[in-house]
C-alpha cells in the first residue's frame, strides 16, 4: 500500500545520492514540483532516465544533481536546445555528465520491458542508425523462428520513479488520464515510486479501462497542487507554453540560470 507522505519526506526517503531515477511525463504531467524538491534536497550523482528530458532535467543538471543522463530526445519541445544539458555535455558545467542515448522506440520498449519484469526489450529498431556505435547497451539478436535480426536493449529498472497524476483516492490508488506516456510503466518498473497528485478524492470516478495505478504498486503518494507546472495536467490546468519559451532565455546564461534557481527553487523551500 502506498504511504501518504509530504513531498519533502517522500523525496528524502526514496531518492538517495547515486540512485537511478526516472521522472517521467511525455510533455504532459511532468513532475516539476518533485524535481524541484530533489534540487532543494541537493541530491547528487543521480543517473537520470527519461525519454524526453526537457526543462526539468535541464534544471536538475544545471543544479548539479546529475552524474549521467539516459534519454532519447533532449530538447525544449518546440523551442530549441536545453542549454544546461548542452553546457554540461559540451563544457562540463557545473561538472561533466555522461550521456547514454537511445531512440524513443527503444526507451518506450525498455520501460515496457521493465514493467514486465524482463531483462531486455526486443524490437525492430536502430536499422542503419549509428546510435549503436556510441551506445554499447544496444545489441542485436536473431529471431529463432525467422532469422530476422532485431534490436535488443536492457530494460529500464530505476531505483525510483517519480510521476505526477491527476488524483488519488484515500487508499492511494491513482488515476492518470490524457497523454499517459510511459508513466505507468515507469512506476511498475521501479523498485520504489513516488506519485504526486493534484488532489485526494473519495472516488476516482474512473471508467472501466482507465489507467489506474493501484496503491499496492506505489511506494508513496504526495499531494502537489499544480505539481506539473509549467507542464500541464489534463482536466486541471494548461501548459505554460510561454514559460517554455522564456526558459530558453533563462537557461542560456549560467548566471541568469543560477539566479532563477535561487529565486524559484531554493527560496521556495522557505515559503513551503
Amino acid at each position: 500500500m502506498a504511504e501518504f507522505l509530504s513531498l519533502h519526506d517522500a523525496v528524502a526517503r526514496y531518492v538517495q545520492d547515486g540512485a537511478t531515477v526516472a521522472m517521467e511525463g511525455f510533455t504532459h504531467l511532468i513532475p516539476f514540483a518533485a524535481g524541484h524538491e530533489v534540487i532543494r534536497q541537493k541530491k547528487r550523482d543521480l543517473t537520470l532516465i527519461r525519454m524526453t528530458p526537457d526543462i526539468i532535467y535541464d534544471q536538475l543538471i544545471g543544479a548539479g544533481c546529475a552524474k549521467k543522463v539516459i534519454f532519447s530526445w533532449g530538447g525544449n519541445p518546440g523551442v530549441g536546445s536545453l542549454h544546461r544539458l548542452r553546457d554540461a555535455v559540451e563544457k562540463g558545467w557545473p561538472h561533466k555528465i555522461e550521456i547514454l542515448e537511445h531512440s524513443h522506440a527503444a526507451m518506450a520498449c525498455a520501460f515496457e520491458a521493465g514493467a514486465a519484469g524482463l531483462p531486455l526489450a526486443v524490437f525492430r529498431g536502430y536499422i542503419g542508425s549509428e546510435l549503436p556505435s556510441v551506445n554499447d547497451q544496444i545489441k542485436f539478436i536473431e529471431c529463432p523462428f525467422t532469422g530476422e535480426r532485431l534490436a535488443a536493449v536492457p530494460s529500464v529498472r530505476p531505483d525510483v520513479s517519480i510521476v505526477h497524476a491527476q488524483r488519488a483516492d484515500r487508499q492511494g490508488n491513482v488515476l492518470v488520464e490524457g497523454i499517459v506516456g510511459v508513466q505507468k510503466e515507469a512506476v511498475l518498473a521501479a523498485k520504489h515510486s513516488i506519485v504526486t497528485v493534484e488532489e485526494i478524492v473519495d472516488d476516482l470516478k474512473a471508467h472501466p479501462n482507465a489507467c489506474v495505478i493501484p496503491s499496492w504498486a506505489i511506494s508513496a503518494v504526495a499531494v502537489a497542487e499544480k505539481g506539473a507546472l509549467p507542464s500541464y495536467t489534463h482536466g486541471y490546468y494548461g501548459r505554460s507554453n510561454r514559460f517554455y519559451k522564456e526558459w530558453d532565455v533563462i537557461a542560456r546564461d549560467r548566471d541568469t540560470f543560477t539566479q532563477w534557481l535561487d529565486d524559484n527553487v531554493y527560496r521556495a523551500e522557505e515559503n513551503a
Binding site: 504532459h28 532519447s72 530526445w73 518506450a108 506516456g181
Partner: protein, 257 residues
Amino acid sequence: MSLEYTASEMMSVTAARALENGTTCFVGIGLPSEAANLARLTHAPDVVLIYESGTLQTKPDILPLSIGDGELCESALTTVAVPEMFRYWLQGGKVNVGFLGTAQIDRFANLNTTLIGDYKAPKVRLPGGGGAPEIATNAGEVFITLKHSKRAFVKDVDFVTTLGFGRDGKGRDNVPNIGKGPTRVITDLCVMKPDPETKELMVVSLHPGVTREEVMDATGWEVRFADQLESTPEPSEKELEILRELKARTERAHTGE
C-alpha cells in the same frame, strides 16, 4: 497569378500537398506538423494524424508547440500509452507516411539530429533521435521537410541518427520488413527525390522564382537536377488563407499562459 507568399509558406503548402487524403501519417513536431495539419484543413480532410505522444487520429485546432500538447489529446480519437504507440501503431505497420524534420540531411537522405562535430567532443549537441530512427524504417515511406541551407544539406552527415539510404545509398537493400524510406524532401527552394538507382537526392521541382544556382549554393554537394525538372505549382489563395489563419490562431494561443 500574382499572389504574395513567403518561401516558408511555399514550403508548407508544397509539403502539405504531398499528403494524400486518407493517408495515415506519423507526424514530427514543427514543420511536418504544420504541413500535415494544413493538408487536413485543405485537400485531405480524412488524413489520419498520429503523434508519438500517443494521440491517434488527432485534429488540433492550433498547432501544438510540443509533441504532447493537451490540444492533441483533446481532439484525438483516443490516446494510447507511448509504448503502445511505438509497438502497435508504428512498428505494427499501420503508418503509411512518416513526416520528419531534421537538423542535417545528406545526399542519401540520412538524417542527423544528434550532434555537430565529434561524438566525444561535440561542437553542438542536438536533441537526439527521438522517434525518428524507427519512424524512418517502420513507416511505409518518409517525407522530410526543412529549410534549405548549406549547413543543413551536407554531403555526409556528421552522424547518421536516422537512416535515409545509408552512407553508400544501399542501406535498405535486402533488409526485411523495412519501409521505402525517404521518397521526397520538401524545402523552401525545391522538391527533391532520391534517384531510383543510386538513391542520391536530386532536385525534381523548383519553386516559382527559384534558380538552379540558388539551390546549388544552398546544398553541400554537387546536386543534380532531374532531366524533366518541374516547376512547383504556386500555393492557392485558399491554402494561404488557411495556413495564415492556422498560424495566427497558434501564435495567439501560445503567447497566452
